[in-house]
């Protein structure tokens, strides 16, 4: 009778406690260095600290990888640091814009907002009088009208580009792409003036 011992599963590739401690130590050290940098150089404030922190953290991780493994791994770690920085920098404006809108705007939210318009309200009234109804109705009317006009044209253009593929398919595709880019108001605004002046 041989006693079979079933080994408990292990993950030798997983991060060990020692590795996690090292990472934490590196991040803390980067914080200290960044603090020193903001103290002694022209960098100052939260932004300066964040920039210095990122610089030192990625540098220390780079050195750590270089020490443990090789140059390729160290460069790889640099890429991941930069990718992380980039996604953070992309997210900061989103979070900031949304939070700014809510923090500055939440006082104006009230029950009558969608049922009143501004006919009875003047500039000096409290923010709870009046509402958005007129603007909402106008928006819905305009968007509805725009959709009625543009949806068939857009659909037919798409059909033309994919099904018919006539001689003009290429220039139309190019111009439509250009319109997508310069949709910011300017040609539309000029066209609108054109209609007014008739």
């Amino acid at each position: 009778m041989t006693q079979t011992t079933i080994p408990s599963p292990q993950k030798p590739w997983g991060t060990s406690i020692a590795q996690r401690l090292t990472t934490a130590a590196i991040l803390a050290l980067a914080g200290v260095l960044a603090g020193a940098a903001t103290e002694f150089t022209g960098l100052s404030g939260k932004l300066g600290f964040a920039a210095a922190y990122f610089f030192f953290a990625s540098l220390l991780i780079f050195v750590q990888q270089l020490r443990l493994r090789d140059l390729a791994a160290a460069k790889d770690s640099l890429l991941s640091s930069f990718a992380f920085l980039a996604i953070t920098m992309t997210l900061i404006p989103i979070v900031s814009i949304v939070s700014t809108v809510f923090l500055k705007g939440y006082k104006g939210i009230h029950f009558g907002m969608f049922t009143n318009d501004m006919t009875q309200a003047s500039v000096n009234d409290p923010v709870t009088s009046g509402g958005l109804l007129h603007a909402l109705v106008g928006t819905i009317l305009m968007v509805g009208g725009a959709l009625i006009v543009s949806f068939p044209i857009g659909l037919l253009t798409a059909l033309y580009l994919t099904e018919i593929r006539g001689k003009l398919a290429h220039p139309i595709k190019f111009l439509v792409q250009a319109m997508v880019v310069c949709h910011q108001s300017l040609p539309d605004y000029l066209f609108f003036r054109f209609w007014l002046s008739q």
């Binding site: 992380f84 980039a86 018919i164 139309i172 250009a178 310069c182 910011q184 300017l186 000029l190 066209f191």
Partner: protein, 339 residues
């Protein structure tokens, strides 16, 4: 010759000589319904072309009088003046877009230089680093950002971004002030082309990220896995497989961002201090932008000045088309290649 029978070919229909059907006519003529469908779709497709043509025609009709007087100096000269005599009639007018064109290019290039690397790295993060629900959340957040109206970016830039932008501008000026670009004649860092460029960069990041991410997502999985199987690190894999494959798309996305940054009106108008002078010093609080100029001057413009503004609109229109043409060319040139 006797004895030789005339051999007649036998057909199935031999017994019914009266009813030989006419063979079905083979023709390339489409059916009536197809013809109608084709006509309707072609007209619909032409409509967008006609609308764009009308815009260009209207702009050139209005602007041609000014362009004829100013000729090339409309683009090169930087002077926008209307002098009135005592009766309020226009005595003399000079229109030149130089400063505004330079301002447009400056802000757009700052936006691309700042925005595109961030966007491409974000796309790499989203494709190759983020996992599961975090990835989905991030993607939907960035798509949400692409849908923000530009006015919101403008106000946010004015209220929130201005102070941090000023901080970086001061820092750049302090350490890199010896480069002419980063020099300032007076310490005014607010409302500069630099900050306008930053706002534009933030505006184009979601678009460029979305395009790059879609391109990176289409990288053939077998090549990615082959690179990993050969022992490549993520960096090596991305450099060997993803970048060669997605280069065209990324360049196209960057040009799309450039075009958007050039045409942007409201956000720049909110942030930038529009001053009519050529300003190469991006940190100094004075600059220009063709679209902002049009918005600024339209309200008080007389008939002649309106025509000049229309000509400016035409220049901007052509500029956008050129940028798009270049981006098309680049995408086709760098097309989908990869190892």
């Amino acid at each position: 010759m006797p004895g030789v029978y005339k051999i007649r070919p036998m057909t199935l229909l031999e017994n019914k000589p009266g009813s030989i059907p006419v063979p079905r006519e083979i023709t390339t003529q489409p059916r009536r319904s197809d013809q109608i469908f084709r006509a309707v779709v072609t007209i619909g497709g032409m409509t967008s072309l006609v609308i764009l043509g009308l815009i260009a025609l209207f702009l050139s009709l209005k602007g041609i009088s000014v362009l004829r007087v100013e000729q090339l100096s409309f683009i090169t000269e930087s002077k926008w003046e209307v002098l009135q005599d005592a009766e309020g009639k226009v005595a003399e007018s000079t229109f030149g877009l130089g400063a505004m064109l330079i301002g447009t290019f400056l802000a757009a290039f700052i936006a691309v230089i700042v925005g595109v690397p961030i966007a491409v790295l974000s796309a790499l993060y989203l494709t190759f680093y983020a996992r599961g629900p975090v990835k989905k959340l991030l993607i939907s957040l960035i798509d949400l950002m692409a849908a923000f109206p530009s006015l919101l970016f403008g106000f946010w830039g004015f209220i929130v971004l201005m102070s941090s932008g000023e901080y970086w501008a001061k820092l750049l000026n302090k350490y890199l002030g010896f480069i002419p670009f980063f020099d300032v004649p007076a310490p005014i860092f607010e409302r500069s082309p630099f900050i306008a460029g930053l706002v534009l960069a933030i505006m184009i990041i979601p678009i460029v990220t979305a395009i790059s991410r879609e391109i990176f997502d289409q990288t053939p999985l077998d090549r990615v896995q082959a690179a990993y199987a050969l022992g490549a690190s993520k960096l090596a894999m991305i450099r060997a497989v993803v970048i060669p494959y997605g280069r065209g798309g990324v360049v196209g996305g960057a040009m799309l961002g450039l075009g958007r940054a050039m045409g942007e009106t409201v956000a720049v108008y909110t942030v930038l201090n529009v001053v009519y002078q050529v300003n190469w010093q991006i940190l100094f609080g004075a600059g220009g932008n063709v679209a902002s100029l049009i918005l600024l001057k339209f309200g008080e413009a007389g008939p002649e000045e309106v025509n000049a503004l229309m000509a400016a609109g035409l220049v901007l229109f052509l500029l956008t088309l050129t940028v798009n043409a270049i981006s098309d060319l680049l995408i086709n040139k760098f097309g989908k290649k990869g190892r």
